[in-house]
Structure formats: C-alpha cells, structure tokens
C-alpha cells in the first residue's frame, strides 16, 4: 500500500500549565502541538511518523468532518500511547515511531486538523517534544494487472512422445537446467559483500599517520 506525504503546517508547542508560566519551580509536563493542512482538503489519514525526543505518552485528537452538513468535530483517536516504558530512563526516548490508522480508536476519514498532546511526567528531563513529524495519506492503488490468458488458464500437460532408449528423462533434465539457470541468475544478481580479506592496496601497506576525521 503506497503512501503519500501530506504537506502540513506544524504550529509551535504550547505548554499546558497550572498557574503562572513564569514560575520556575516546575517544568510543564504537558505540551500540545497543533498540525493544520492549509492547502489540502479533508483526507483519509494513513500513517503518522515522527522521531521521539523524551516524550513518555502521546494522545492524538483529530478534527473530523462527518458529513457535509454537520460541523467538524474533535475526536480522540489515540489515548496515552506509551512511548517510554519507564519515563525516568532512556529507553524509547529517541526512537523513530510510526502509527497506522488501524491502531487508532476511530476511523481516520476526512481529517482536517490534528492535535498531539505530549505528556512527560518525569521531572528529570529538561525538555521533551516530537520531531520530524510527517503525515501520510493513502496513495493511489496500483493498477490491477490483467494476466495474459495463458498464465491464468494454463493448458493441460501434453503427453510427451515416447523416446528412444538411452536418452535421459526430459522433464528431469529440464528441471536440472532450470535450477542451474536460477543459480546463475542468483549469483549474477547478488553482490557478495564477502571480503576477500586483503587489507593492503596492491601489496602495499605503507601508511601515513592515522586520520582524525
């Protein structure tokens, strides 16, 4: 199934905090990222990919158009998806994540806006976000090929004519030749990465000093 990148506009993160944002006692544990699609009509969302940066839990809400006449509604399609099994340790903190529409709680038809709600309850990290956010919609289906008739309806095997004695069985010969041909094709196609084991260049291993780059 092919996918097509949807150009999107990612707004800056907004921290949700109780009380005065200026107090330095605590860092916000909840961030919201809004994603709009200014030049695209409501589409069916196929996949979301991003690189995590120390976000522990992710929720996603989408604004969906249900039908032509009702106004668009916000629906939660992912709730508290765990990105870091232990919010205090490094595991999962910088991983690449892909989320597909079959993982979502609702169907993803006619999406016009996206809102990501990031949570990081641990006070150990200075900041957290998601990066390289990319949204995909379903690509065009590959055109169905029509098989030639002889592939889809093979003719029944003809009885081979009787051979004189001494000749090898033709079906056996043909299968062996086929195997050999397949082997040669394989060898030609695969570029072996096996090293020959030479570390010198044309017998010479007279070196400069080691390079620092």
């Amino acid at each position: 199934m092919s996918r097509v990148l949807v150009p999107c506009h990612v707004k800056g993160t907004v921290a949700l905090q109780v009380g005065d944002v200026r107090t330095s006692q605590g860092r916000p544990g909840v961030l919201v990222i809004d994603v709009t699609f200014p030049s695209v009509a409501p589409f069916e969302l196929q996949e979301i990919t991003f690189k995590n940066y120390y976000t522990a839990f992710l929720s996603i809400r989408v604004r969906q158009h249900t039908s032509a006449h009702t106004p668009a509604k916000w629906v939660t399609c992912l709730r508290d998806y765990c990105l870091m099994p232990d919010p205090h340790s490094e595991e999962g903190a910088q991983e690449y994540v892909s989320l597909f529409k079959h993982q979502m709680l609702c169907d993803m038809a006619r999406v016009s806006e996206l809102r990501l709600i990031l949570r990081q309850p641990s006070p150990l990290w200075l900041s957290f976000t998601v990066e390289e956010l990319q949204i995909y919609q379903q690509g065009p289906k590959s055109p169905s090929m029509t098989f030639p008739k002889w592939l889809s309806h093979p003719v029944p095997c003809e009885q081979p004519a009787l051979l004189c004695e001494g000749l090898p069985d033709p079906s056996r010969v043909s299968s062996e030749v086929q195997q050999m041909w397949a082997l040669t094709e394989m060898i030609r196609a695969s570029h072996t990465s096996a090293r020959i084991g030479r570390f010198d260049v044309d017998g010479c291993y007279d070196l400069n000093l080691l390079s620092y780059t």
């Binding site: 099994p85 205090h88 200075l126 957290f128 570390f199 010479c204």
Partner: protein, 461 residues
C-alpha cells in the same frame, strides 16, 4: 600512561556545554566516543613519530624467513619494548564513562534526588533483582548447577551424571540452541570445548584453516606497530600470570593474526565505534588508497590479551582457538570497551553494578562512598576483562559458560555486586580506598556459582 588525563575532563565538559540544548543524546554518545577515539589515535600517532617507527612496514625476506621459523616460539623473543606504552588502560576508559552526560538530563550542581550516587550519571534502564531472577532462572536454588552440585560432598548420581549424559546427547544431536540452554547450568569440563564451538557455530572446515594460514602469511609479510603493543601487553599481563604464562606463544599466534583479520571489520556495523583510518603514503585523501589500521580496526589496550588466555585451556589447535576467540570478541568482548546504551554494554553493566549495590547493600555503598572508595573504581577492571585473570580458571570458565548460555554480559555486573556482598563485613571496616582495594585484591579463592546464587536467590531483601 597518557598525560592528558586532567585535560580530558575539561574537553568533555566543554563539549557537553556546547551540546546543551542540542537535540540528540546519541550525538553525545558519538561525541564522547569520538573524542575518546581521537585521543587514542593521537597517542598511537605520537608513539609512531617519537620512536620513528612506521605504523606498518613490509618485512624483508630474511626477516620473514626468521619469523616463520620461530612462529611457534615467539615468546622466546625478547625485543626491547621499554619505549612502548599501552595506548590506554581500563582506568582511563572509566574516566571517560564517568564524564558521560546527557544534555537533556537535569544534572543540577547541587545534590538532589536526581543525582546518581555512583559514578555513572547516565539514566539507562537496568534490571533489578526480581527481573534478574526471572532472567537467570536456571541459576535458582532448585536447579542443579555445575560449580555447586558437582562438589565432592554431593554424590554424582544426584545431578552430575545425568547432566553429563544430557550434554553428550546435545553434542550428538549437534543442536546449537539446545546447547545454549544446556550450558546455563554449566558445562562438564570434558564437553566444554565442543559445546562452546557448537554454540558459537564454529566448525573446523578446511577453508577456516586456510583462512588462518592466510592471516599467518599476512603477519609474516608485514610488521605493524600494533604488534609491539600486543607483545608488550602479553609480556605485562598473561606472562606474569601463574595460570596463563604457559600459553604465551599461543597468545601471540592468535593476537597477531587477529590484527590482520579484516572480517572483524563487519562487527562495526553494530558497534558504535569506528575503525581508525589511514591512507597509503603519498596518497593522502584519495579514497581508493584508504585503509583501516590495524586491518581489523581494533586497537588493543592494556589487558586485551586476557580475553584470549582462558580459551587456551580449551583449544590447542591454533586455527580453532583463533576462530573461537574471534567469535567471542565480535559477540561479547567488544561491548566491554566501547560506549553504547546496549544492556550488555559496559556503561549499562557499570550502572547495573552500582544500582544493585546501592539498592541491596545501602550501608556498604554509603560507607565506601564516604571514605572516597567508590565501588565502581574497584570493580571496573574486573568487568572490563570479564574477570579474566582475577578468578581461578575453572571458576572463570563456569562464568563464561553462563555468558554464552544467556547471551548477555549482565552476569558480570551481578557477580561484581555479589563479591562485594560476600566481603561486606570486611569492607565495612576499611577507612580508605587503598584498604578497600586490598580487601578485594585476591579473588582467586572465590567460588562463582554459590556467590551468584546467594546474591540473586538467597538474600533477604
């Protein structure tokens, strides 16, 4: 040792400052490692220029013949190695690990609940004892172990005979996965060599012997600066060890060939380090003349030969010994001297050790810290060498059985903590780092399996 030790902390602190606010922890990993690698390269280059010895040199034919003749007794050679110094020692590496910082991690200057009390300040996920118990379930009190249930007081009918019989069956079936499961309870001495070969997928095909002979030819044709480092290391470590000095010649035969083996380069695909590069003289910058140095990309450090020494008890045929060592290195040992966040990497092992000690022996940990004897400073050298040269050989081989069986090095950290737990009473009475080192200087009388079993399964937590 290298002179820039104090500079290193400064350099690393500066790099960390620059990286503060930048995005990638992995960048820090690479930066820290990059600086460390540069330092090693500088040291090697300066040794090269100071001593006016080329990095690599083709041997004249006469010298080649001579070396070929005394291939089996290279230990009798007494070259002047006084001017060579090891590129680095484990304690230099420990300083690098201590200074690893995550720029996104709250590391306030004042002590808070966020500061790690041990030396490692990186918040990697490590297992605690309940998780280790689940992981190492075959070491439990109800399961028979070689190293415990084969002692002279226990009649062999209870466990040992049956265990040996199963081992022979596993070997007859040539089942590698079954061998790995079997060896978690230890390997009988007679079967160990074959079992390890089965688990590591080493079979002595003629092409393997041929490959080794090819490496031997490479050693004879070219002389590398790294060879002198290897000689020095063997002379300083294995030759001085009561158990291993007899294998001195084997060690040269294995390690010199190991340096020429380009197939080791493939392990850099999953190692965060990268092999040192150079160019053929006169062709600086031309990629077709770029080569790795040494050919296998691994620069030996002080104590490197101890990875090979215990294997000499099991394998006497040089090409098989070589293959086993190479496989052990690219599967396990390389993790002990490179920086990564892998659970078997040395950073995780150090953190696991410190966390276990802090959680289950808090009084001891606090006491040692107060007297300026951070426990990791003592146990680091054990873990980096996988306890080789510190334990008695039969105990060491039982330990390495479990490394192969569980495919993980975490058992090294657990053993280190178990040793501290065992000597806790004596350690509580010391008042200095030197005295603590003295208490833990001699591990040769320790029995590994009872220590592990008691620490994991029989300590009241």
């Amino acid at each position: 040792m290298l002179q820039e030790e104090s500079d290193l902390s400064l350099i690393i602190a500066q790099i960390v400052q620059k990286l503060k606010g930048s995005n990638l922890y992995s960048q820090l990993e690479r930066q820290a490692w990059g600086n460390w690698e540069k330092r090693i390269l500088k040291s090697l280059n300066s040794m090269c220029t100071e001593l006016s010895i080329p990095l690599a040199r083709k041997r004249p034919v006469g010298e080649q013949k001579e070396l070929l003749n005394k291939w089996n007794e290279m230990g009798t050679d007494e070259p002047d190695l006084s001017l060579f110094r090891p590129v680095y020692a484990p304690k230099d590496f420990l300083e690098v690990l201590i200074n690893l910082r995550n720029p996104n991690y709250e590391n306030g200057d004042s002590l808070s609940f966020r500061t790690h009390l041990g030396l490692i300040q990186v918040p990697l996920k490590v297992k605690d004892i309940p998780e280790l118990k689940e992981c190492f379930v075959e070491l439990g009190l109800n399961t028979g172990q070689l190293g415990i249930d084969d002692s002279t007081q226990v009649p062999p009918e209870l466990f040992e005979n049956e265990h040996v019989r199963i081992g022979q069956k596993v070997l007859a079936e040539q089942d590698s996965a079954a061998a790995q499961q079997y060896i978690r309870q230890g390997s009988p001495t007679a079967l160990r060599a074959e079992l390890w070969a089965l688990i590591l997928n080493i079979s002595s095909e003629p092409e393997d012997v041929l490959y080794y002979e090819q490496l031997k030819t490479n050693v004879i044709q070219h002389d590398l600066l790294v060879d002198s480092l290897i000689y020095k290391d063997v002379k300083l470590t294995a030759s001085n060890d009561d158990y291993y000095f007899v294998f001195e010649d084997y060690l040269y035969q294995v390690l010199l060939c190991f340096s020429r083996d380009t197939s080791v380069l493939s392990h850099f695909a999953y190692n965060s380090a990268s092999p040192p590069k150079s160019y053929i003289r006169g062709k600086l910058g031309l990629e077709e003349y770029a080569v790795f140095y040494p050919p296998n990309g691994v620069i030996p450090f002080h104590g490197f030969s101890m990875y090979v020494a215990p294997l000499c008890f099991l394998y006497h045929e040089p090409s098989k010994l070589y293959q086993i060592f190479r496989e052990m290195y690219v599967r396990f040992f390389f993790r002990l001297h490179s920086i990564s966040s892998h659970p078997s990497g040395i950073v995780s092992l150090c953190l696991l050790f410190e966390t276990l000690l802090q959680t289950y022996l808090p009084q001891l940990f606090y006491h040692l810290r107060e007297i300026g004897a951070q426990p990791l400073r003592i146990s680091f050298k054990w873990m980096v060498r996988a306890f080789s040269g510190y334990l008695a050989t039969d105990q060491l081989l039982l330990l390495w059985d479990r490394i192969l069986g569980y495919n993980s090095l975490e058992i090294l950290a657990v053993l280190a903590a178990a040793v501290f737990a065992f000597r806790a009473v004596n350690l509580m009475e010391v008042t200095s780092l030197a005295a603590a080192e003295a208490v833990l200087a001699d591990l040769s009388t320790l029995k590994v399996m009872p220590l592990l079993q008691i620490f994991l399964f029989a300590t009241v937590t």
